[in-house]
Amino acid sequence: MLRDLDLINHTAHEIQLLMNKASFLAQQVQDPVVRHLLHDAARMHQRHLATLSTARAQLQQQLGSTQPTLQQLAGPAGQSGARWTQ
């Protein structure tokens, strides 16, 4: 799950960059067909970002319910080392 979250975060970061870039380039080009295609690309990236955001929220919710708290990680008083019992 943590790996999934990392994959989603990385993809969302890249897609955010591409969406900004597509929006910027759409204003720069002269050809209306290319401009239309770039606008489509920006919208598609935006849709993908929304999907990734939903998936990330679900994953974080699942992780939040199963992730050990700091107290659990620290263990009972007087005992050193972390325990992954939860």
Partner: protein
């Protein structure tokens, strides 16, 4: 100031990168998340296809038909002198060189057709037969 062609070439590179990344991530993700990456990969490849078609129509991304080399591995008449059409905004289906292939000038778009030699068979066949005969005789 980037030209439209430069912008398109840059976007093609971005799409190649993001497609590669999503392919790797789809393989790496858990089964629940795999469809998400594959779906996005498909969207990006559809966009990639649209962009390449648009660029090809404008002569910005000329493609040489791969089956020339496939059909005639030994009889390529050209000496590497094939020249891509100039990117002048319109497609110019007039390659130069001595390839045994001719560009169609139909109005439906660029299409390519290899010309068969007058003998009725590819020279490749006779070349291969000669090689096989030589191999048999040398044994």
């Amino acid at each position: 100031m980037l030209s439209d062609k430069d912008v398109c070439m840059d976007v093609v590179k971005d799409l190649k990168y993001i497609s590669f990344m999503e392919t790797v991530f789809a393989a790496e993700a858990s089964p629940d998340l795999k469809p998400l990456f594959l779906g996005q990969l498909r969207d990006h490849e559809d966009l990639h296809t649209q962009l390449l078609r648009l660029m090809e129509q404008r002569g910005w991304y000329p493609r040489v038909p791969g089956d020339w080399a496939f059909n005639e591995p030994y009889t390529l008449q050209g000496t590497g002198a094939w020249q891509a059409p100039q990117a002048s905004g319109t497609w110019q289906p007039t390659p130069t060189g001595a390839w045994q292939a001719q560009a169609s000038t139909s109005t439906t778009g660029p299409s390519w057709q290899a010309t068969q030699p007058a003998g009725g068979s590819w020279q490749t066949t006779s070349t291969l037969q000669a090689l096989q005969q030589n191999l048999r005789e040398s044994r």
